[in-house]
């Protein structure tokens, strides 16, 4: 009952030099891309203005028995509209999948350390399944730039649900599903043409851990730097609880704060 009397507005936070806390935002659109895969769009000016590729937002269930954050990478920003793409895997994602435009949902963000996008480079955006959303956001960030190329390399189990979003921003979209192979198949195929521009080639990747590991090793063998966006169960998503750690060469690090992006070297996946 009482929490209503307190001001949580974004303006109040920003004018006091703070990051806005958890807040309720309007859901703009929810659609099913392929069975069990949902694209949800909500409106939040603060996130829309500040989010960078591979940063994530926490969504919160409207059911107060389900308190924990549900972190999702941002896949696209359009004005003040922020989109996520997620798979229905449990209680929270099932609840969010049943939201519709006009409903409301609680969010926090943007959170985490983004991909390090440098000038004058070619980017291979290597995504697998529900790891693809942050790479769409990376494609969008790269779309405006003359000094960079974005080549999306996407692997799916079956339906190529994200190709249409990748195609909006990436210079090239290559995708594959399990009937034909995986992202490594595509990388092998593309490799000969990739060195032509003479620019540095950088891999940004997100997907299942075995896939990212294989991608990192593939990259390492070819002297290509790779940045990998990791997942871990989170207690808070903003660095206060130390629940979300993974082991890196720098020690046991928080995925929500030191990550989600780590270099292949940090993860020890570069065979060095």
């Amino acid at each position: 009952m009482p929490t209503t009397a307190f001001s949580h507005t974004v303006e109040d936070a920003v004018s006091n030099g703070r990051m806005p806390t958890r807040r309720t935002v309007d859901v703009v659109d929810v659609r099913e891309l392929t069975p069990g895969v949902i694209r949800l769009t909500f409106r939040d000016e603060f996130i829309a203005e500040n989010v960078k590729p591979a940063q994530f937002v926490n969504l919160y269930s409207a059911n107060p028995q389900h308190l924990m954050p549900r972190p999702f990478g941002v896949s696209e920003v359009d004005g003040d509209d922020v989109s996520l793409i997620f798979a229905v895997v449990g209680y929270g994602t099932d609840e969010f999948a049943h939201l519709k435009g006009g409903d409301r949902v609680d969010v926090l963000g943007p959170l985490g350390k983004p991909f390090d996008i440098r000038a004058n480079a070619d980017y291979l955006l290597v995504g697998g399944g529900l790891g693809i959303p942050p790479l769409l956001e990376a494609a969008q960030a790269l779309a405006g730039r003359d000094d960079c190329r974005a080549i999306a390399v996407l692997g799916y189990r079956d339906a190529h649900f994200a190709d249409v979003y990748a195609a909006k921003y990436a210079d090239e979209v290559h995708s594959i599903d399990e009937s034909e192979g995986n992202v490594l198949t595509l990388l092998e195929r593309l490799w000969p043409g990739l060195q032509e521009s003479g620019r540095e080639l950088i891999i940004l990747s997100c997907g299942p851990t075995p896939m990212m590991k294989a991608v990192a090793e593939w990259a390492s063998k070819r002297g290509v730097d790779a940045q990998l966006s990791m997942e871990q169960r989170m207690g808070c998503g903003y660095g206060t609880c130390v629940a979300c750690t993974i082991d890196t060469r720098d020690g046991r690090e928080k995925v929500c704060e030191a990550g989600p992006v780590f270099t292949a070297h940090q993860l020890g996946w570069d065979n060095k």
């Binding site: 009397a5 307190f6 001001s7 006091n16 958890r22 308190l67 924990m68 206060t240 609880c241 704060e257």
Partner: protein, 320 residues
């Protein structure tokens, strides 16, 4: 009567500086207000992005050990109804890092700081207390109640003899007010509390987490790598309240910090009525970063209409 009417209708900012109307004194240490943050759910830098942490009655830092601890592996957290189950296992960079970074950072901000002390054995606790003895920390909290470490932690906090022995060793090492943090996972919390006080504790804090677990029905295996973890959040509220009530009945004079499931000013107030001197907000901060400061502001409004209570608090006395 509608409780809502007790609350001021003018929005109070969780971000802006605030003049606190109802301070208190806990074991001789002044708190700006009766609401602190609980250990392990507060990180100076992470929380400081959202609100001015120096505005809290106090802040308790994460358990600190003699050297860096890596904590438990793998998945460390799972959801349970109105709660979370966690098994971090006291990961922390060690007391030297704490003295070089977190503590000065917080003291520079003007925060009242409680340093939470962790150990796997009596020597560990002693080494940390020795290093903190002349530090800028305002209070030390001896964590003998962590359910997620194999040695030390809860094993000391469930055994009055072991606890008394530990306190006999730590007590002479510093003049700082020493809090002992108790676990609810015992048959008789009042007996443990008595042992702590006889060993020289200036203050008690309770509760730490309840032992709990979740299993993934897809695999049939525990979600958390450590298998069991500590339950915290709204679900544990009535348990923490009863612990404070019982210890207050057994020990009328010892300062008590009430912890467990606090997510609103009302719940904080229940702890004060149960006999706590002050409270701390823990797990609520995990899903609402500004929960601690919001609770402090909500409690303040509820206290405005309770002068008998605020008079006691101002003197460091308790309701019962």
């Amino acid at each position: 009567m509608n409780i809502e009417q007790e609350l001021n209708e003018t929005p109070t900012s969780v971000y802006a500086p605030h003049e606190w109307r109802h301070g208190t004194v806990v074991a001789g240490v002044p708190w700006k207000n009766p609401v602190g943050t609980a250990s392990g759910t507060f990180n100076a830098y992470a929380c400081g992005r959202f609100y001015d942490v120096s505005q809290m009655g106090s802040v308790t830092t994460k358990g600190v050990s003699p050297v860096e601890w890596l904590g438990n592996p793998g998945v460390r957290t799972a959801e349970s109804p109105a709660a979370t189950v966690n098994a971090v296992g006291l990961q922390n960079p060690g007391v030297d890092h704490y003295l070089a970074h977190d503590l000065p950072y917080l003291k520079d901000l003007g925060a009242t700081v409680i340093a939470n002390v962790a150990g796997h054995c009596d020597d560990d606790y002693a080494q940390v207390v020795e290093k903190l003895a002349d530090s800028d920390a305002d209070m030390l909290e001896i964590n003998v109640s962590c359910p997620n470490v194999t040695h030390g932690g809860m094993s000391v906090g469930t055994d009055p003899v072991a606890l008394a022995k530990l306190m006999d060793r730590l007590r002479p090492m510093t003049d700082k007010p020493m809090i002992v943090k108790l676990t609810p996972n015992v048959t008789d919390i009042a007996a443990i509390a008595r042992a702590a006080v006889e060993g020289g504790a200036d203050c008690l804090s309770m509760i730490n987490t309840l032992v709990g677990m979740r299993i993934d029905i897809r695999t049939g295996e525990p979600i958390i790598a450590n298998r069991t973890g500590g339950v915290s959040g709204p679900a544990v509220f009535p348990v923490g309240l009863a612990c404070v009530w019982r210890v207050r009945a057994a020990l009328p004079d010892i300062p008590i910090i009430g912890i467990g499931g606090i997510d609103s000013g009302e719940k904080a107030l229940e702890y004060l009525y149960a006999g706590a001197n002050a409270v701390e907000v823990g797990g609520a901060a995990l899903y609402d970063p500004t929960a601690p400061i919001r609770v402090a502001l909500e409690l303040e409004e509820l206290l405005d209409s309770r002068p008998e209570l605020t008079e006691k608090l101002a003197k460091g006395d308790t309701w019962r």
